[in-house]
């Protein structure tokens, strides 16, 4: 009765039947024949010549080696790997092992400090330059004291600034050939200076003399040659001597040596070598398809032979479109030991399954979606497995699943095939699920190995280990039928394997993408190279600092310095206020009794017109310290000083 009542509540959805195409595609009965045929025809090298050294995953599969026919190569590699165990470390060495993380932290902090310092070193001159430009743009007295504009630059200066050094050399050669030796000599010098300027060894400027270029040349290898060229040029230009063919030839030889020197190429080479060295790149032994016992080439091959469309997932797991109601999407197989999935992907997978997706999770149950409640359970006894195909499963009413067939109903609501397949695995891990599930494969002691968990309109096929999805695991006799029986439960004719990096959601920024792609080191190198380039080439644009003022200061210099301080602080109103108060105090002390008009007193003493003096005095008394400058403060201060001096001269 209970069963009938259950059947009343639950609609039996037959998602696959023995005669349906999907189940016809995955037939365990000829799975082993497919494996044998594939091994014979394709001669997968994982068995006779596996890639060495074996990976840790491959080493875990070593117990299969003896059970697989004609797999001596894999067995030998396993023996070699077992013999080459790392030597045990002495106890004192263990303390040192804790150092690398600390050193790494220190190195990281150092790198960031250096980067910050470099950024500041770049930004400070830029900001100062901008501020200087801003100050220059402001209307004020500074502009008035600028010298007259420099005359138009000479042609040679233009040539040095605009033309490429190779072009200058070529033109100089042409002039030499035409017999214009004097001009050619100049151009050889220009080409040399241009090349050195590009390297940052000299800084081109209109006011620099040839001798200054030589003395200021920071490339010691180029300095003697440049000196010789300059000597020849000066001899001709200022010494009034004729340029001889020999002299021009020598200058040409030296100019070519300077222009086509190799320091830049050497620097690039060193940086490239450093880049390779820093990343610790070593040339790995080339891999051959199918040479890894832990690979999945044989699995794909067998599934293809079982009329399954097999391929890699062409998008990230988190980017898979949600299935539409009734849509039969491809089953997605995720090897959880290989594909690490992040939280965002986990959430998307849950929604994807709820909407009707079929997900096969293999290996490491604790990393599965949390609401599945998956965990490990240990089995006892031999690790022999039994599996049967799930032909139909129970789904809630209205879930959208189709009822295909009701063949071979069992004691449960789900329908299983009567035939069972047997195989053997290495790991004794069993599967424990948090909710109701349909068991597909189990150990001899009854511990679950694989089960189907229904979620919404879709379901998850969970396999506790990924052994059966590996070349070595599948090649063991009996395991192929086992895997086919398990995968047949998905009732899908198309299966997609997730790659190792499919479990990570796409990066949000280009930099994050580069870092994820392992280009972080390269990005760092590029940044450092850019900074080095900037410092090497950009420094020639830097402005020389003015010389420090003399330490000793006379009284006059002290007054000048105070004046300069006022000017820099834009405190002219303060200066005028202070002087006006001083004059007011002194004049009041000298005024006759009963008089209160200081302007009139000042005008009479200084012998200047009363109205002009009144205007001047009123303006001076208006000044307030801290008020924004109007612009006439210095002029008023100067005039008041003169008038006051004239007035006080009466007393002397």
């Amino acid at each position: 009765m209970r069963r009938r009542a259950l059947l009343l509540v639950v609609t039996i959805a037959v998602v696959a039947a023995a005669g349906a195409p999907a189940f016809a595609a995955l037939d365990p009965t000829h799975a082993q024949a497919d494996v044998d045929d594939a091994m014979a025809k394709k001669a997968y090298p994982f068995c006779h010549a596996p890639h060495e050294p074996l990976s840790s995953r491959a080493i875990d599969l070593c117990p299969h080696a003896s059970a697989i026919p004609d797999c001596a190569g894999f067995a030998a590699a396993c023996a070699k790997a077992a013999a080459a165990k790392p030597p045990s470390l002495p106890p004192w060495w263990m303390g040192w092992l804790s150092l690398p993380p600390f050193i790494g932290l220190v190195a990281q902090v150092t790198v960031w400090v250096v980067i910050a310092a470099l950024v500041i070193a770049i930004l400070v001159p830029i900001v100062r330059g901008l501020m200087r430009l801003r100050r220059q743009d402001e209307p004020g007295a500074k502009k008035d004291i600028e010298p007259a504009r420099a005359p138009a630059p000479l042609e040679l200066e233009e040539a040095m600034t605009l033309a490429d050094e190779e072009q200058l050399l070529a033109r100089a050669h042409q002039l030499t050939a035409r017999g214009e030796l004097q001009a050619a000599l100049q151009l050889y010098l220009a080409a040399s200076l241009r090349a050195l300027d590009k390297r940052g060894a000299v800084r081109l400027a209109k006011d620099r003399t040839n001798g200054e270029y030589v003395r200021g040349c920071s490339d010691p290898s180029a300095k003697p040659a440049l000196r010789e060229i300059v000597r020849e040029v000066d001899r001709v230009q200022f010494g009034g001597e004729d340029a001889t063919q020999d002299a021009v030839g020598r200058a040409a030889h030296r100019a070519v040596a300077i222009v086509r020197a190799l320091p830049v190429a050497m620097m690039l080479l060193v940086i490239m070598v450093c880049s390779l060295g820093c990343s610790g790149a070593s040339v790995p032994k080339p891999r051959v398809a199918g040479d890894d016992p832990a690979g999945d080439e044989l699995v794909r091959d067998v599934l293809t032979r079982q009329a399954i469309t097999v391929g890699s997932l062409e998008t990230a797991l988190s980017s898979m479109p949600l299935p539409h109601p009734g849509e039969r999407t491809a089953a997605v197989i995720v090897d959880m030991d290989r594909t690490v999935i992040d939280d965002e992907t986990r959430e998307h997978l849950a929604a994807w399954v709820e909407e009707g997706g079929v997900l096969v999770l293999a290996g490491f149950p604790p990393s599965w979606l949390k609401d599945y409640g998956a965990g490990r359970a240990s089995s006892s006894g031999p690790h022999k497995l039994t599996a049967r195909r799930l032909l139909a499963r129970a789904v809630a009413p209205g879930s959208g699943e189709e009822n295909d067939d009701e063949e071979d109903a069992t004691e449960e609501s789900a329908i299983y095939s009567r035939t069972e397949e047997h195989g053997e695995v290495i790991s004794g891990d069993g599967l424990k699920l948090g909710g109701p599930s349909e068991r597909i494969a189990w150990f001899d002691d009854g511990t679950t190995y694989a089960a189907v968990l229904t979620r919404g309109r879709g379901f998850v096929l969970g396999i506790v280990t990924n052994e059966l999805l590996t070349n070595a695991g599948l090649a063991r006799p009996g395991n192929a039928a086992l895997l086919v029986a398990i995968l047949a439960s998905t009732s899908r004719t198309e299966m997609r394997f997730a790659d190792a990096d499919d479990g990570v959601s796409p990066p949000s920024t280009p930099i994050a993408a580069m870092l994820r792609a392992g280009l972080g080191m390269g990005l760092g190198h590029a940044l450092v190279f850019t900074l080095v380039l900037f410092l090497a080439v950009g420094t020639r644009l830097s402005r020389p600092r003015p010389a420090a003022p003399p330490r000793r200061r006379a009284f006059a210099e002290h007054v000048e310095a105070v004046g300069a301080l006022y000017a820099r602080a834009r405190s002219a109103p303060h200066a005028l206020t202070a002087y006006a108060r001083f004059a007011d105090e002194r004049l009041r002390a000298r005024m006759p009794r009963g008089s209160s008009d200081i302007a009139a007193f000042l005008a009479s003493r200084a012998r200047m017109p009363l109205d002009a003096c009144q205007r001047l005095w009123a303006r001076a008394m208006q000044a307030k310290a801290g008020a924004p400058p109007i612009g006439d403060e210095l002029a008023v201060l100067r005039e008041l000083g003169a008038v006051y001096a004239a007035a006080m001269a009466q007393d002397r």
């Binding site: 010298p147 005359p151 200066e157 004097q182 000066d234 200022f238 003399p550 006379a554 300069a564 301080l565």
Partner: protein, 319 residues
Amino acid sequence: MDASTFQQTFDRIRQQMARVVVGQQDLVDGLLVAAVAKGHVLVEGAPGLGKTLLARTLAVVSGCDFKRIQFTPDLMPSDITGSSVYSRETGKFTFVPGPIFAQLLLADEINRAPAKTQSALLEAMQDHQVTVDGTSRPLPVPFVVVATQNPVESQGTYPLPEAQLDRFLFKLTVGDPPPEIERTIVRHHADGFDPTDLSSLQAVTSPQEIAAMQQLASSVRVDDAVITYIVELVRRTRDDKAIELGASPRASIALLKSAQVIAASEGRGFVTPDDVKPMVAAVLRHRVMLHPDAQLQGISADERIEEIVRAVPVPRLAA
């Protein structure tokens, strides 16, 4: 004398002076260039920086007569030039030459004497002669005035008038020596060096040789482009709005003469802009008068001169 002899003699004097005057190479060079360029030098610096020692050393090394006048407010012009004194035996006035009749004259603290006394030097410095009682008397050859002044004290001093300043070929400033140089100076004294006794120095040249060097330096070739460069540098001081009074053509000539000596000291028979540039500040700094506004803004003459030098393109041939 040829160019190589000039260069050797110049280097010899320089090396000999460097034995005594430590760490003041620019000052030594400036003084030497001025002496060969028939010019006079105004040295400004705080007391104790070796100004007097420098002049005495040059006198010893060059074999020139040396006289020193300590300028004071009560110094009279006749105390410098000399005067006619009545001789009872002969019943005539005879001229007693003053200390100015020396080949190397050190006018110590020149700004302590009033303008009247300072002016006694004007004719001597410009025309190399002294007129007393209507009679002009030539001064010995070479004739070099090395005047010093202290920039720190301003009370009781008489600033040199512009006309007087213009007579000086160079104004050299002496700064504090760096610590390592000062240590060397003190070490010399600890080892027994006595600045009042320069007998350890030997004369490496003679006044006649100096005169020959002067002759050779004046014959060094100067290209028109260099002359244009010199004139442009000096003219800029007159156009600069921070400068109230620019340098006179005498400054251009001074620049030319000093550049000729520099070129000759390097064994060259022609002047390049590279010989001119290092002399610009020394030649112009005392010849320009800054505008009060510029002074109030803390701008110095050296800064403006540096800006001017930076703004004037160096002559080059067009390619």
